[in-house]
């Protein structure tokens, strides 16, 4: 059995390199703008119809927006390096495969947190308008942290499958949309014996539980476990490439 060791120092350097790549190009800023505009528009176009001081609608929309946006962010993470050949250059240095996977995962996850950060102005603004129940909002943001990590791990895994970014994007999008949207819509059509299973893997019901302020440890563990599994699959997939 080969020892799998990870040096955090190397992950840090790889992470910084990924960050530099994100923020030294205009892509990151355009990306964040589109994300915020789409989210804000979808939320506020209905906000005044509800005429209620709450953010439930925001956290209903968020998983759907994320399941489109995260695959777009992660599609290049491995695909681009495969097609340019730089993956060979970097993987033959003393960094290990696992360190590369971790660094890419952390970089994309932290980037999404940064993109989500400006939305904190919504609850702050709402707080000026009247009495706001902060419980569900805090829950919603905690849930977002876990949801984003899971979606990024799906995106990273998809990106490790192909050197074609479009394929990576579509695979990640398909998995994310199924987990965040389709499964919950299909509940009525599903045979009863599958309901338990579907509810177990469904992202949206777990996320909306947290976003209602009910922070169940099982939901958090599920999201964490999900991320770990997909990162492990990414690692295995990259190791399998060596056997070609």
């Amino acid at each position: 059995m080969k020892m799998i060791s990870v040096q955090w120092k190397k992950i840090y350097f790889l992470l910084m390199k990924e960050f530099r790549y994100f923020f030294f190009s205009p892509v990151a800023y355009i990306f964040i703008c589109i994300f915020l505009i789409a989210l804000g528009w979808l939320y506020f176009s209905r906000f005044f119809l509800y005429n209620q001081l709450e953010m439930r609608e925001f956290f209903n929309i968020l998983p759907i927006v994320l399941s489109f946006v995260v695959p777009a962010l992660t599609m290049g993470s491995f695909s681009e390096e495969f097609s340019s050949g730089s993956y060979e250059t970097i993987s033959t240095t003393t960094v290990s495969t696992l360190e590369i996977v971790f660094a890419k995962f952390l970089a994309a996850t932290l980037f999404m947190y940064i993109a989500l950060f400006p939305t904190l102005m919504y609850p702050i603004t709402l707080a000026f308008l009247g009495e706001l129940d902060f419980g569900p909002i805090i829950g919603g943001y905690i849930g977002s942290i876990f949801l984003i990590a899971s979606l990024v791990s799906i995106g990273i895994f998809s990106s490790s499958l192909s050197k074609n970014q479009i394929i990576s994007f579509i695979v990640a999008l398909a998995i994310s949309v199924v987990l965040c949207l389709i499964l919950s819509l299909m509940k009525a059509l599903i045979p009863p014996f599958l309901i338990d299973f579907i509810e177990f893997i469904d992202f949206s019901s777990r996320f909306s539980n947290i976003a209602r302020g009910i922070i169940d440890l099982r939901d958090l563990v599920y999201f964490s476990f999900f991320s770990v599994i997909f990162l492990y699959l990414t690692y295995q997939n990259l190791e399998l490439r060596k056997l070609a």
Binding site: K17, R20, T89, S91, T92, K242
Partner: protein, 311 residues
Amino acid sequence: MIEVKNLTKYYGDFLAVNSISFNIEKGEIVGLLGPNGAGKSTTIRMLTTYFAPTSGEIYINGYDIKENPTLVKKFIGYIPEASPLYSEMVVYDYLRFIANIQDVPQDQVEERIEFVVSKCGLTEMVYKKIGELSKGYRQRTGLAHAIIHNPPILILDEPTSGLDPNQIIEIRELIKELGKEKTVLLSSHILSEVQATCNRVIIINKGSIVADGPTNELLKGSFDSERFIIKIKTKDSCESIKSRLSGIEGIYGCEVFDGELKEISLNVARKEGIEEKIYTSIKSTDWILYEFRKEIQTLEQIFKQLTMEED
């Protein structure tokens, strides 16, 4: 330093590398020579842990590559063909990043960057984006990448491919210079390149080693025949030229092509002083000599000879 035993690689059903074995000692500059698709890159990628072999063993500095991949990579400076680097990064930032992940101690990072930049002639390019560099400078950056952590072994895949003649000469000089302190393994499909830089050559074809030995011996000595091309202006008939030259001792094949200038192709047994004999023979006639040269053997010819010898 590098020990390879019965290394084999299949891609599906396709046998890319067929049970090759060789040893590379400290201080050697070895050229892995072969036509495209011979298995050079595959071999190199197995040595650098990018590919796992189907079977066989590789030892770097005495360590088994399968059991200590991360440790082994410390000893190797490697740059893949065409130097795929992060084109959006500035040369300095890139080298700093590589120095960091290659475990160069923090207090030596600046010093190492300065050293490799001056060694690879990158001084004026330090603050340019890699994507904006010419191919030659890109290749230099690749070499800087490979030597930044001062590895004892340098592995280069087609280091001069896609460069113009001046850049090729510069990169070769650089490799020779680096080869003074390091063990170098480079691959190439260009014979003259290996002749110019390497002191040992391993010729590989269709996944197998067809020859392995010191460069000058292998590319000159082991072939017992040479070909001369002579161009003359004369009124003599082809037959009379042929009969005259065939008479010289050591010539066993002579072809004459008619034309304004008569072109003669001579197959000659390798022997000291044969040029002199041919020249003396020509001098005694009224032929006007336009050209007299030894034909440089191409890789294809060498392959033909080597594979025929094996058959």
